[in-house]
Each structure stands twice: as structure tokens, then as C-alpha cells.
Amino acid sequence: MFRLLLIFALALGPAGVVTAEDHGEPISKMLPQLPPATGEPHPEGNEFWRKKHMELLSHDRNLTVREGEREIQASLKECFVCHQAKDENGTPVSADDPRNFCRVCHDFVGIKVDCFVCHRSTPDGVDEAAQRAGGEDRADMVRDGPDLEELFAYLDGLTSPEMAQTEGIGE
């Protein structure tokens, strides 16, 4: 438990320092920068979709796959009608690109999205292979987080009595 708390403290520490010092950068700049959406806003509100999108997608995917219901409301394809991020040339970017609508937030919170191992993330006809070649490998969608092994080793060192003695900690 102590170890867990320490990890949290370490993880939050640097963020706290930044906000406390406030380099004149607004906090909104540090949050995920979503690509602009087209079309009508969600009647349920964005907060609802931010929280419930996976439940809705999962619910409707079962309707489609299991019962053949094709007139569904929540589908990945439907999301990208409005939430398709585009590159400088106006080409829709696939999930191999960090600018992809899903990835912007999911990268921020360090969660790997599996959807695009099977599903397209661009309209039919866009060459995703070119973006795959130029982009990062999907296996690396969660990018360089803290090295946990190193962190644990460091924490183990901190709490072991020898270390406490040599470093003068805990006296």
C-alpha cells in the first residue's frame, strides 16, 4: 500500500510542480487537444459520451454482430463521420497517427485501444497502409510511460534498511 501511495505521489508530483509554478501556460493547453468535429452536437452532451462511449459502442456492436441490426446509432464508422481528424493535406488520419480522434484522449490517459486492430479508422478507400508505414506500430500505442521496473527497484531501495542507513533516510 505504501509503495502504491508513493507511486501516485511520484506520478502526480511533477504535474503539481508545473501547476504550482505556472509558466503562464493555461491548463487547457495541457489537456488533450481534440480535432474539431463536424455535424450536429450530441443531444446527450459531450460529458455523457466521454463517460459512456464504450458502453454504447459495446451495446450496439452486439446488436449488429449477433442480431444483424444495421440501423444502429453508435458505431465506430458513425463516430468518424464527424470526428475524423485530418492531416495537413486534408487526408483522414488513421489510428496509427497520434492525431486520431480516439488516440488523442486514449494516449493522454495511457490506455491502448484495440478496436483498430480489426476495424478501419478512416473511410473506405483511404490507404491506411501508407500511414501504418509512416506511423508508429500499434503495439506502441501506449508510448513511453514511466519504467515501472526501474521505479519499483528505486522504491525497494528506499524502503530497505541498508539503503536507509547509507543514505541517511529514516533517521
Binding site: T19, E44, E47, R66, E69, H119, R120, D124
Partner: protein
């Protein structure tokens, strides 16, 4: 650090109620013991989606009309569903393949396409440990890749070798036919087409060549062309000894 989500649940639509309304099916729940319930779905299942329990989709393949040199059904399937020959026959997906049968006694050869036979009693469904392999209400046997763990039991269970495993990362899938590494796949009877009132790509391609060796239709409708042909002419199921009652039938083998 204020990327906070509302804690208030009351403003959300009631998903459970929505599920119920969407399914349009009457639900009976019987409590067998505390914590153990038996749920039965009945009523107007047809309204739940395109998978209609009042139908059973099937194919009738006339081997005498199938040209041994023609590969149109295989090509059409490959293009429609986005699987292809990558030059690695050991691992490439094959949703449909042309097979040549030879009667050893007489030397007579016949050519026929073999794909998932969409069994009424599918062994692939029996063995699936996650429920990913399933049969729709209208008899189409599918893999729900969302919950397929890639164990490949179904591939071993299938007597027709109809299923393939995806070994390598895939890109540029069709939006209507998602496929990805680590899951099993097979002929879907072009379910995305059938759900929108169209016929499978192989059937369409075969008709376009003029051979018209494959007929698609509803086996439960006595008036459909496939049912009338089956009633009139002799036909057989591959490996009929296994008693799987496949939805794909062959004539003139």
C-alpha cells in the same frame, strides 16, 4: 487538472430500458435459486434485427454447372471481404476454396466451391470456450471477433476446414468486414449484404459468369427457388454422416 466527469448518473438515459425496447422481445426470468436465474427470450424476435428466426439462409451448389477452370466465386469473396493470397499458403486465410473431387472407381472429376457450410448443429459453436463462435437466428454461423481469443478450437472442430486464423497484422480492411490478427474467421455468407437485402458476393459473381452454379435463398420458405430445387432434385450435404444439417447443399456431385 479539471478534466472531471459528472458523477450524477440520473441525467443519463436508462440503458437497460433502452436495451429492452430495442430488442422488442418479451423476456421471462425464472429464479431457480438465489443468484441463479433462467432468462428466456421470446415473442417478436424478427423485430430485433435483420437476423430473423423465421428464415434460414442457405446455398445450393450445382457441381455440374461449376466450371473447373473458373475461380470467380473465390475472387469475388476475396475482394468483397478483403482477404487475399499473400503467397503464404500455410497461413493465408481461405474463406472459400475450389475443391476437385475424383471418383477413384470411375475417374469422374467434379469441381465445387467449399466454404463454411453454416451447419444447423455447428461443431465450432459447441467447442468455443468464449461464445465467440455462434449461430445467428437465421442460421448464419459467425465469429464474434470481439470476444474471440484465437484459441482455434473451432478450426479443429470444423470437418470442412472452413475457418482460418489471422497470423499477422492486417491493414486496409473493408469497413463492413473487420478482420484482425489473433482471431478466427470464415465465410459470413456475406452477412452485411444479406442484412441489407442483397445476395452473397460469390453467388453474384457466379451468376455474372453465366454458370449460375450457386443459388442463395431461404431454406425455410417452401416457395423460394432454393427450396423448390431441393424438393425437386436429389441433393446432398458434405459429410452427411456427421448429421450437422449444413445450410450449404450440393447437387450433381
Amino acid at each position: 487538472m479539471t478534466f472531471r466527469l459528472p458523477d450524477d448518473e440520473s441525467e443519463k438515459p436508462d440503458l437497460k430500458r433502452r436495451d429492452f425496447l430495442r430488442s422488442g422481445a418479451a423476456v421471462a426470468v425464472i429464479t431457480l435459486a438465489p443468484g441463479v436465474t433462467l432468462t428466456a427470450f421470446g415473442g417478436s424476435e424478427a423485430e430485433a434485427g435483420a437476423a430473423d428466426a423465421g428464415k434460414r439462409w442457405g446455398l445450393l451448389i450445382d457441381a455440374s454447372r461449376c466450371d473447373p477452370d473458373c475461380n470467380a466465386c473465390v475472387t469475388a469473396c476475396s475482394q468483397e471481404n478483403g482477404w487475399e493470397d499473400t503467397g503464404k499458403p500455410e497461413t493465408d486465410a481461405q474463406w472459400i476454396r475450389k475443391v476437385t473431387l475424383k471418383d477413384k472407381a470411375t475417374g469422374r472429376e467434379s469441381s465445387l466451391p467449399v466454404m463454411c457450410q453454416h451447419c444447423e448443429e455447428p461443431p465450432c459453436v459447441d467447442v468455443c470456450p468464449t461464445g465467440a463462435s455462434f449461430k445467428r437466428a437465421d442460421g448464419i454461423v459467425l465469429v464474434d471477433k470481439h470476444i474471440c481469443i484465437g484459441c482455434r478450437y473451432c478450426m479443429m472442430a470444423c470437418p470442412y476446414k472452413a475457418r482460418s486464423f489471422i497470423h499477422e497484422p492486417i491493414v486496409n480492411q473493408k469497413s463492413w468486414a473487420p478482420r484482425g490478427k489473433g482471431t478466427v474467421e470464415s465465410c459470413t455468407l456475406c452477412v452485411h449484404r444479406v442484412d441489407t437485402g442483397r445476395i452473397p458476393a460469390c453467388v453474384e459473381a457466379c451468376a455474372a459468369t453465366g454458370n449460375k452454379a450457386i443459388i442463395f435463398g431461404d431454406l425455410k420458405d417452401p416457395e423460394s427457388e432454393i427450396s423448390r430445387r431441393l424438393a425437386e432434385y436429389p441433393s446432398l450435404a458434405l459429410r452427411a454422416d456427421l448429421d450437422l444439417n449444413p445450410g450449404v447443399r450440393y447437387t450433381n456431385l
